[in-house]
C-alpha cells in the first residue's frame, strides 16, 4: 500500500521536465524516421510559445520544422493531407482550445477519412494540444476538451500526467498509424520527474498506470488531477486510509480492466478530471464502472470535474472552478461514509 514509481524498475532515467521530455521524444522520433516532421505556429526559431520545440529547428531545419502563419485549419487539415501521402506530421496547436478552430479537420478528416474510404487511407498524425489551466489564460485558452475526442470514433486520445509518460506516450503516438490527439498539460511543462533516457522507451496505449495502491477506494484521475489525487491520498494515508489511484493515461483506448479490477476490490470509486464535469470523460468512466461492477459497489460512483462555467481569466478565480486536492480529499471522505 503506497506510492508507485513513475518508471518501471531498472530503467535508466534522467531528471527532466515534462516539456523537455516531450522535446526529447520529438527529437528522437525525428532522428529515427525521416518521414516525421512538424508544423505549427512559432515552433521554429522561437521553439514554440511554451518552448517545447526549442532546438529542433536548429537540428532538423526549416523544411522539417515548419512555422505556419495563423491557420489552424491548414495545420490540422494539412497534416491530414500530408499523412495520406507518405509523411508523418506532428503538429502543434498553441492551445488545445484551437482544436475547435479546426473542428472539421479533427473530427471529420482525421477521425473519419480512413473509414469513409474503406480502410484504403491511413492518417498517421499527432496533434499536440497544450491543455488545461496555466494561470490567467482565460476561457478560450484553458479548456480541457478530451471528451470531444473520446466521443468521436477514430481518434486516439492521450493525456500524459508525468514527464516519463509524456515522453513514452508521445513516441508511441508518433509510431501509431492512427490519428492521435495528444493533450499535454501546459500547466505541467515545468514539472520534473525521472524520464527514461532510452531511444525506444514506449508507453503502450490502453494500459492504465496504478499510481498508488490501496484498498479503501479507487480514484481514477487524469492529467493535472493525478498529482492532486496523489496529494489527497497522501493526506488520507496519514490516517491509515489507503486510496488506489489509477491514471488511465489514454482514454481512447481506455483500460477499463485495471479500473474494474480495482473497484471490485475497493467497492468505491471517484473519477476526477479537470474538464467540465458535465458530459466529461468521467461520465463515461463512471457509467462503465457501474455497468461492469455494479454488484461489487458499496456506494455510487462519484465524479469531480470543473464547474459548469467557462474558465475565468484571473489565476485565483480559475482555481476555484477546477477540482483541488482538498476537494478530492473531502469527496473521498464523504464517499467512505456511504
Amino acid at each position: 500500500m503506497s506510492a508507485v514509481a513513475e518508471v518501471p524498475e531498472g530503467v535508466e532515467t534522467e531528471e527532466l521536465g515534462y516539456g523537455r521530455a516531450i522535446n526529447a521524444a520529438l527529437a528522437e522520433e525525428m532522428r529515427r524516421d525521416e518521414r516525421v516532421w512538424m508544423m505549427g505556429q512559432d515552433i521554429g526559431k522561437m521553439g514554440g510559445v511554451f518552448g517545447v520545440t526549442r532546438g529542433l529547428f536548429d537540428e532538423f531545419g526549416p523544411s522539417r520544422v515548419r512555422d505556419t502563419t495563423i491557420n489552424e485549419t491548414f495545420i490540422v487539415g494539412g497534416a491530414a493531407g500530408a499523412a495520406l501521402t507518405g509523411t508523418i506530421p506532428v503538429v502543434e496547436l498553441q492551445f488545445a482550445d484551437f482544436g475547435l478552430v479546426a473542428g472539421d479537420e479533427i473530427f471529420h478528416k482525421l477521425a473519419k477519412w480512413r473509414y469513409m474510404h474503406g480502410g484504403k487511407l491511413s492518417l498517421p498524425v499527432v496533434v499536440r494540444l497544450p491543455t488545461g489551466v496555466v494561470g490567467g489564460a482565460g476561457a478560450e485558452h484553458s479548456q480541457s476538451l478530451e471528451a470531444m475526442g473520446m466521443h468521436v470514433p477514430g481518434l486516439k486520445v492521450v493525456l500524459p500526467a508525468t514527464p516519463a509518460d509524456a515522453k513514452g506516450l508521445l513516441k508511441t503516438a508518433i509510431r501509431d498509424p492512427n490519428p492521435v490527439l495528444f493533450f499535454e498539460h501546459k500547466g505541467m511543462y515545468r514539472v520534473k520527474g525521472p524520464v527514461p533516457t532510452g531511444d525506444d522507451y514506449l508507453v503502450p496505449f490502453g494500459e492504465a498506470a496504478v499510481r498508488r495502491r490501496g484498498d479503501a477506494a479507487t480514484v481514477v484521475a487524469t492529467g493535472l488531477m493525478v498529482p492532486r489525487a496523489l496529494e489527497a491520498a497522501e493526506r488520507l494515508a496519514a490516517e491509515g486510509t489507503e486510496l488506489e489511484v489509477i491514471d488511465p493515461r489514454t482514454i481512447v483506448p481506455l483500460d477499463m480492466e485495471t479500473i474494474i479490477a480495482s473497484v471490485e476490490r475497493t467497492g468505491r470509486a471517484l473519477v476526477v478530471h479537470e474538464a467540465v464535469r458535465t458530459a466529461g470523460a468521467g461520465a463515461e468512466i463512471a457509467a462503465r464502472i457501474q455497468e461492469a461492477a455494479f454488484f461489487a459497489l458499496d456506494a455510487p460512483v462519484w465524479r469531480l470535474g470543473a464547474l459548469d462555467t467557462p474558465i475565468p481569466q484571473d489565476p485565483d478565480l480559475e482555481q476555484l472552478v477546477i477540482p483541488s486536492a482538498e476537494q478530492i480529499e473531502t469527496a473521498v471522505r464523504e464517499l467512505l461514509t456511504l
Binding site: R64, G86, K109
Partner: protein, 324 residues
C-alpha cells in the same frame, strides 16, 4: 487507362490529344446519361450530384495530370476519377454502396471513392476541406522531393470557405505544387455565384495570394487541358500554385431530383449548351467519334450491370476500417 494520363503529361500530338479527350468526355457523358436515367427511375441511397455539361472541365483538367499526380476531386460527377483511371464499375459500386466499390459503401455524404495507387485521394464531404488536405499533400511532395503536382477541384461556392484562404496563403508562401481547378458552373446549390461573389471571377481572388489566376472556357476540354498543363508545369518547376477557373454550366439540379424552383434560367432537360462533346467532335474524324460513342455507351451499360450485381456489405463491413 494510365496510358492516357501519361499522354496528358507528355507532348502528345494535337489530333491524338483531341481524340483522347473526346474518348474521355464521351465516357463521362455516357455514365452521366445512364445514371440520370437510373437514379430518376430507381433512386438510390444517397445524393447524386450530376456533372452533365461539366465533362469538358473534368476530362480536360485530369487529362493534363500524370499518373503519379494527386487528385482531390469535387462532388459533381464521376468524371474526375474515371479519367484518372478508376474503373467505371468500381465508381458505380461506390455510388450504390456495394462492397465492390472502392470504399465498400462507407463513403460520406455524396459519393466518395479512392485509389491511392492512381493518386485519387478523396473529396471533403464538408466543402473546402480539399484546400487544406491538398495543400498538406503538396507539402509531403515537397518534403519528399517528389515530382508530382496536386490537383484540387472545387466549385464556385466552395471557394468561399475560409480553408481556401488559410491554405492558399501558406501554399503561395511555401510555393507548393498545386493546381486549383475551380469548376464555376454559376451556382452553388440555389445561390447564383453572381449574387454571392463581389467580383466577376473566382480567378480575381488569385491576386490576394500572389499567384496566377486564369479563366478558361470549361466547355472546351482542349483549352482546359492546355491551361492545366501549363499550370502543372509551373508548379512542378517550384514556382508555386496556380488558380484555374473553368467557366461551365450546371445543366441539372444540384442533386438529381432537385425541383430547382429557385431557378428560371434553363429548362429541365438534358441538352447541353456549348456541349463539350460537340466542340471536340469538330476536331476528330466523325467515324472515330461514332466508334468512341458506341464504346463509351457499352462501357457504361456494362459497368452499371456489374455494379448492380455487386453485393452490399453487412455488419462486418459497417464496423471495420475505423482503425489502421
Amino acid at each position: 487507362m494510365s496510358t492516357k494520363t501519361e499522354q496528358g503529361g507528355g507532348g502528345a500530338g494535337e489530333a491524338e490529344v483531341a481524340l483522347e479527350l473526346y474518348r474521355q468526355v464521351a465516357r463521362i457523358r455516357a455514365l452521366e446519361l445512364l445514371l440520370n436515367r437510373y437514379v430518376r427511375e430507381h433512386g438510390f441511397g444517397g445524393f447524386w450530384h450530376p456533372g452533365l455539361g461539366q465533362e469538358g472541365v473534368q476530362a480536360g483538367a485530369v487529362a493534363a495530370l500524370r499518373h503519379e499526380d494527386y487528385l482531390f476531386y469535387a462532388h459533381r460527377g464521376l468524371g474526375y476519377a474515371l479519367v484518372k483511371g478508376m474503373a467505371p464499375e468500381v465508381l458505380l459500386g461506390d455510388l450504390f454502396g456495394r462492397v465492390g466499390g472502392s470504399v465498400g459503401g462507407k463513403g460520406g455524404g455524396t459519393v466518395h471513392f479512392v485509389d491511392p495507387e492512381l493518386g485519387v485521394l478523396g473529396q471533403g464531404g464538408t466543402l473546402g476541406s480539399n484546400f487544406v488536405l491538398g495543400a498538406g499533400a503538396a507539402t509531403s511532395v515537397q518534403l519528399l522531393g517528389e515530382d508530382r503536382v496536386v490537383a484540387i477541384f472545387f466549385g464556385d461556392g466552395a471557394a468561399a470557405r475560409g480553408t481556401f484562404h488559410e491554405a492558399a496563403l501558406q501554399a503561395a508562401v511555401w510555393k507548393l505544387p498545386i493546381v486549383w481547378v475551380c469548376e464555376n458552373n454559376g451556382w452553388h446549390l440555389s445561390a447564383l455565384f453572381s449574387a454571392q461573389s463581389p467580383t466577376e471571377d473566382v480567378a480575381d481572388r488569385a491576386a490576394a495570394y500572389g499567384v496566377p489566376g486564369v479563366v478558361v472556357d470549361g466547355q472546351d476540354a482542349l483549352a482546359v487541358r492546355a491551361a492545366v498543363l501549363e499550370g502543372a508545369e509551373r508548379a512542378r518547376g517550384g514556382e508555386g500554385p496556380v488558380l484555374i477557373e473553368a467557366k461551365t454550366l450546371r445543366i441539372r439540379g444540384h442533386y438529381e431530383g432537385d425541383p430547382q424552383k429557385y431557378r428560371d434560367d434553363i429548362a429541365d432537360g438534358l441538352e447541353v449548351p456549348r456541349d463539350p462533346l460537340q466542340i471536340l467532335r469538330e476536331r476528330v474524324p466523325a467515324g472515330e467519334a461514332d466508334a468512341l460513342d458506341a464504346a463509351a455507351g457499352a462501357e457504361a451499360e456494362a459497368a452499371l450491370e456489374a455494379a448492380l450485381a455487386m453485393p452490399k456489405g453487412g455488419p462486418e463491413v459497417a464496423t471495420r476500417d475505423v482503425w489502421s
